[in-house]
């Protein structure tokens, strides 16, 4: 099956008064219909910059230095083309971290949904828009959907607002929904509920979901595939089960070992040090300075991607041993 969205060797640079850093580098990602991809990484790993770049929604000081993006086989970025604005809203919807401020405080939820439809589905009539709004809102698990439609954002609770924001993002039926830390501001129970809802809505309609988070546990619950980012690169990518059970990259392993639930038999281990500042011209594995298995070759040259069937990693000393050794 052809991928819905295909990103190749994306490189994003951010320039500030201090200099230029490489926020995202050698970023390859294929999204197939029905995929729920978890983009995992710590703060500053470039995950948010990467997904915002997919939509051309970066800050002024951030630019896409190279890379190509194809949507449904058609090139939208690269070879001097930049048609990312055509994807926004119509084909790719986005839910942001803080729903409270991602809604216009002056407009009713109904109005905000209708506007998204007017912009992205101008060919349909108002009655069709209304039907679509009613359908989407009734599936969001609201106690009283009609009242939510009539409400202003401040009249809703945090969880309700987040669900309203999701309703707005999916109302024009985008093929891909990007949820950027969408639940981090909610409490744990609501988080799981909302994520489950998003996954259901996306996959029921055959759409795909990119879930950007630093919460491994939550990602493991809802995602079919996982991509782990470090220092602007994807260091490991594969089906959720195999990434968790057989992590190949030492960083992935380190992440898993720092989750209490999975590390309950083994001692809880953190990763020493901090992520490097990746400046242009940086050579070698980004993780080498913090990696227990690093050898000289790790820093001598850029590490190539190793693909084995449906998973891959970027390491010359991959971990062979599974996480749950012994009785785990």
């Amino acid at each position: 099956m052809d991928p819905l969205l295909s990103v190749r060797s994306l490189r994003v640079e951010a320039t500030s008064s201090v200099g230029t850093i490489v926020a995202v580098d050698r970023f390859d990602l294929d999204i197939h219909p029905g995929d729920v991809i978890g983009l995992i990484g710590e703060s500053g790993s470039g995950k948010t910059t990467a997904v915002r770049s997919l939509l051309g929604l970066t800050e002024r000081n951030v630019r896409i230095a190279e890379g190509s993006i194809c949507f449904q086989g058609e090139q939208v970025l690269g070879d001097g083309k930049n048609h990312l604005d055509r994807l926004r809203g119509r084909h790719v919807g986005m839910v942001f971290q803080n729903a409270s401020s991602s809604l216009n405080p002056l407009l009713k939820i109904k109005t905000q949904m209708r506007q998204v439809l007017r912009v992205n589905r101008p060919d349909q009539r108002a009655a069709a828009h209304q039907r679509r709004i009613d359908e989407v809102i009734s599936r969001m698990g609201f106690h009283d959907p009609k009242r939510v439609l009539r409400s202003y954002p401040h009249q809703l609770s945090g969880g309700m607002r987040q669900r309203a924001a999701i309703a707005i993002a999916i109302v024009s039926e985008p093929e891909i929904v990007i949820a950027d830390e969408s639940t981090s501001a909610l409490d744990v129970t609501t988080q799981a509920e909302v994520m489950e809802l998003v996954r259901e809505l996306a996959t029921d309609m055959g759409h795909s979901l990119i879930y950007v988070t630093h919460d491994l546990l939550l990602a493991a619950e809802v995602c079919t595939r996982m991509a782990v980012m470090y220092g602007g690169e994807i260091v490991e990518e594969g089906p959720t089960a195999s990434v968790i059970a057989y992590p190949k990259h030492p960083y992935t392993l380190g992440l898993l070992r720092s989750v209490p639930m999975w590390a309950k038999k083994a001692p809880l281990v953190g990763i020493d040090g901090t992520p490097p500042r990746v400046i242009p011209g940086f050579i070698g594995c980004r993780f080498a300075s913090r990696c227990a298995h690093a050898v000289g070759a790790c820093s001598d040259a850029d590490v190539e991607w190793t693909q084995h069937r449906d998973s891959g990693f970027r390491c010359i000393q991959p971990e062979g041993a599974p996480l749950h050794t012994g009785n785990g």
Partner: protein
């Protein structure tokens, strides 16, 4: 805010409602005199007033009714050409208001649009607009007015244009700053992600969110415009007789101020009263729409 972190949603809603209600009361209190004056000025032709342009050289400089020699025929007395002052103050208000409001409309529309574009687009557009604003604010207003009026001639359109040129930069600067902070809010990013065009975002989403500020600014500017118009008319750059404005009346009566103080005093009082009322109304509106008091969700 007063209750610190422990206030519940109910309390905050009650609080806002109380603020709203008292805000409404002071709005009415401040707006009522202006409203009455506005009605008076609009209904002037229907009132039993003397013809404001009718000269009576034998009845020059008649004092107002409460002084010796005053008559009920001219309750506020007459000016140097024997014209009824009461009628002239009321009719003069018509043109003064029209000019001030037209100037504010033109100035606020241009200033707000440019401010929103500069704040939203940033980059070179912002640089150009901001530098023009700086230049505009650095020019002395009287000098600019003299230059334009001398080269373009005296007319109502030119006068409104001059006043609008004087005021637009103020709007542009304030609105740009508000737009700058607004555009960083996630809902604008959300709208962009949803595919909304910049024009739609500016007009449908940014403008309503800064509308309160524009309203406050525009209200305060009406007062400034009345003063500016009076100043220009006083210098002989304003309305052309036989049209009447308050500033023009001040200019005409200046020579007689020692013998007939009432000729300049009544239009002066009118200007003071209106400008003060407008400023008080503006303050009441500001209390309601102040961005610093506005709580975002």
């Amino acid at each position: 805010m007063i209750l610190g972190n422990h206030r519940t949603a109910d309390v905050s809603e009650d609080e806002t409602r109380t603020i709203r209600r008292s805000g409404n009361r002071s709005l009415w209190l401040m707006g009522l005199p202006l409203l009455l004056l506005g009605l008076l000025v609009v209904a002037a032709p229907l009132l039993p007033l003397a013809d404001p342009g009718l000269q009576d050289l034998r009845g020059r400089l008649i004092p107002p009714i409460f002084l010796e020699g005053g008559t009920w025929e001219h309750p506020l007395g007459t000016d140097q050409l024997g014209r009824d002052l009461l009628a002239r103050v009321i009719y003069g208000g018509r043109l003064t208001f029209v000019i001030a409001i037209a100037a504010v409309l033109v100035g606020s529309v241009f200033g707000t649009l440019l401010g929103m574009i500069a704040g939203y687009r940033r980059g070179w557009i912002d640089t150009i607009i901001s530098r023009v604003v700086d230049a505009q604010l650095a020019l002395p207003f009287i000098l600019l007015a003299i230059a334009i009026i001398v080269s373009r001639g005296r007319s109502l359109v030119v006068l409104v244009a001059v006043l609008a040129i004087i005021s637009w930069a103020q709007y542009a600067r304030v609105i740009r700053a508000e737009t700058l902070s607004l555009r960083e809010r996630p809902f604008i990013l959300g709208l962009r992600a949803a595919g909304a065009s910049p024009i739609r975002i500016i007009l449908r989403h940014i403008f309503p969110n800064i509308g309160g500020t524009v309203l406050v600014l525009a209200t305060l500017e009406v007062g400034t415009m009345i003063l500016a118009e009076s100043a220009l008319s006083f210098l002989g750059l304003g309305v052309v007789p036989p049209d009447i404005s308050w500033g023009g009346m001040l200019a005409g009566g200046r020579e007689f101020i020692q013998d007939a103080w009432w000729v300049v005093t009544f239009p002066g009082i009118a200007i003071t009263f209106v400008v003060m009322s407008i400023n008080l109304l503006g303050d009441a509106l500001r209390a309601r729409y102040d961005p610093r008091k506005r709580t975002y969700l």
